[in-house]
Symmetry: C2
Subunit: 410 residues, 2 copies
């Protein structure tokens, strides 16, 4: 748990000029566990964020959204606690989230609305402010450009490994860096988790461009992964640009810098998102569902998510069973208008499994069952009615999934 270097467990997280990072053991819920993390940004840093779509959003989500608007998208500090989600806590929860920002702001000489709070952990219990507040001086004194992997550990709850990564990119003759950390997929161990991701770059980017690039990247990555279809009350993804890397401020997502950051961001978000699925609770398989030949992207996503959410498909994947009947039934109930079922083809990896409404004549069940023992699989559905496609990533349903979720609070 003492990952203080910027490289450990095969992960590389490059420092980002204008950002310092820290993580400490505040004892918010458990002792001897990094559970309080700070990301501090130099003045002039711009930011954009995407929050959970759940109507029951947690107190820190409400306050972070409010503060981000109040500071004109120029926050100075992200304050992240793990161990307590401060969700399902009503008005006292909102007051506690505000109070944590005020205490941090006072210590650092900031305004409270320049501090954005994030929480993950148990739902429905009051946030213990005392240990959080008393750990702040230690937290801030340890801020360093090098502590990214320590922070990646610090935001973990029941994740089994940290997720972090970096991308270098260039534009207008200058080199920039993008570094991100993430935790928890879907409602992984839901009372103790949430999907959180924090990404920072030293490129100079206007808030509106950050917002545009972040939404597009999230749509193609974090919004296309699912473990069990549930959505946490605390999910948040934030992208900050310090501008320390110099150059003219990017005001157009289609400019050279906008496009370069956009590409790096999409690649890093996808890497982090897939890392969350691989670390999904009880996951024994990593499965790409690739739907092609749809009339539009929406219907490709409908088919892909119907497959990815089907408990019957997920238990078959767990068993390594090429159960094309379940895939076919899932496609059939995805709600596509006038689907010509005879035009649909289903492949697993490169093997054609089903076509023309029945099993493919070339299909060899023993061959397919053999490669389905691999941990990485791809289910390909060709709808044969257009040019659109979409991919989503998911895991299987195992005994451990039930065990983890049935026994978690007991």
């Amino acid at each position: 748990m003492s990952a203080t270097s910027s490289e450990s467990e095969g992960l590389v997280a490059l420092p980002v000029p204008g950002v310092t990072v820290s993580a400490v053991e505040a004892g918010i819920r458990y002792a001897d566990r990094l559970d309080l993390v700070a990301l501090k940004f130099d003045q002039g840093t711009t930011a954009a964020a995407v929050f959970t779509r759940n109507a029951f959003c947690a107190a820190p989500v409400i306050v972070a959204r409010e503060h981000l608007a109040a500071c004109d998208s120029m926050p100075r500090l992200l304050l992240i606690n793990t161990g307590n989600a401060n969700a399902g806590t009503g008005a006292p929860g909102i007051a506690a989230a505000r109070r944590s920002c005020e205490e941090a702001a006072t210590l650092l000489g900031l305004s409270a609305h320049e501090v954005l709070p994030f929480s993950t952990g148990v739902i429905g219990e009051d946030l213990p402010l005392a240990p959080l507040v008393s750990a702040l001086p230690t937290l801030f004194s340890a801020l360093s450009p090098e502590h990214w992997l320590r922070a990646a550990h610090g935001i973990m709850t029941t994740d089994t490994r940290p997720k972090a990564g970096s991308r270098r990119f260039a534009a207008n003759g200058r080199d920039y860096v993008l570094t991100g950390i993430a935790k928890g997929a879907g409602m992984l161990r839901p009372d103790m988790a949430t999907m959180l991701a924090f990404l920072t770059t030293d490129a100079p980017i206007a808030p509106s461009v950050l917002d545009h690039l972040l939404r597009r990247a999230v749509e193609m990555s974090f919004h296309r992964i699912t473990v069990d279809g549930d959505t946490s009350t605390n999910d948040a993804v934030l992208l900050a640009a310090t501008g320390a890397g110099d150059g003219e401020v990017c005001e157009d997502p289609e400019s050279e810098l906008g496009r370069a950051l956009g590409e790096a961001l999409e690649a890093l978000c996808l890497e982090l998102a897939q890392g969350l699925v691989r670390d999904g609770e009880g996951a024994s398989k990593f499965v790409e569902v690739d739907v092609r030949g749809g009339a539009d992207e929406r219907e490709c996503l409908d088919v892909a998510f119907t497959i990815a959410h089907s408990p019957l498909v997920k238990t078959a994947l767990f068993a390594g069973d090429p159960n094309w009947g379940r895939l076919l039934a899932a496609i059939g109930r995805a709600g596509l208008r006038d689907l010509d079922v005879n035009g649909v083809r289903i492949l697993i990896n490169d093997a054609l499994i089903a076509e023309k409404g029945s099993r493919a004549t070339s299909y060899d069940e023993s061959e397919v069952a053999a490669f389905m023992q691999q941990s990485d699989l791809r289910v390909i559905v060709e709808l044969g009615r257009g040019q659109a496609d979409a991919r989503v990533w998911t895991s299987d349903f195992s005994y451990d999934y039930v065990k983890i979720n049935a026994e978690y609070r007991s």
Copy 2:
């Protein structure tokens, strides 16, 4: 498996004038197992049916729909085989379904389109016609008004117990009877199952009225149960009225007879549908999700099904864990516009669990955890924004659910 009387295992299935029933062991997939069932109707019997909404519907569904139209909703025979679903079998599957109707029609002196085929069992394998056809003479020679419970056994695949029931009703000074049998909920053990229900009455009812009453009853019963959210390719519910009970033919669902049959039908469909959930695969709990105070019925159903389909809620129910955070998160992601989360209340049985966005002050977790050990539970959600309500019924997710579905084909 030799239930030949009309009363066994606490079930009562009354004979219906104008209907004879039979079930035999044809050895379609397994030996020593009732797997071929016939319901024969007197001339003049009218019928209506509701079939799966799955685009990949099975061959017998395609043929039954076609024959029902061709005989002007006046079928004479239902021919039901178990052990092979004749689904995912392409054009040869349709030919096999037609052929089975032709063979039966020849033996009974009927037209092929007066015979409706239904199948349930393994998906993606050719229907073995030979054993089916050679068992037809024995099947038809055993037709009797008394064999309802034998038929209820005969349509079972991996159901653990038969489902059957009757209702008596009166209209215009006459007494009538309604008897039904059903099998398999959702995609219970999906390669070997399907939801099938057959209901008959001796009341004289026009096909259009039957259709109206059946759709309404199915909407309030079979369409409001879920085990895992999957939909079989073979689901079918059929209602037949022989008219043997005499009286004027009912042409209006709002007439005395229409209303009396409608009430009996809704009650029996609900009883059978709930029976399917109780026998759901790996089910250890029977759970009613009752959503009240919605702006309209649609949003109540959205909330109810989001809860009923949530793997996190279902694993918590399995554990007997009053995990209100998961209920709250499911309500929050059901897609309701402008939901005031502070107005939502959640109860389990009669205990208030959560309100005003957090745990209720009166909530006693140990008390609630104690009664959650019971096999029957009710989750009540009060949305506090209107007068609409809706109820659905579901089961929990257990180790056995994963075991049954992961190991089924292995």
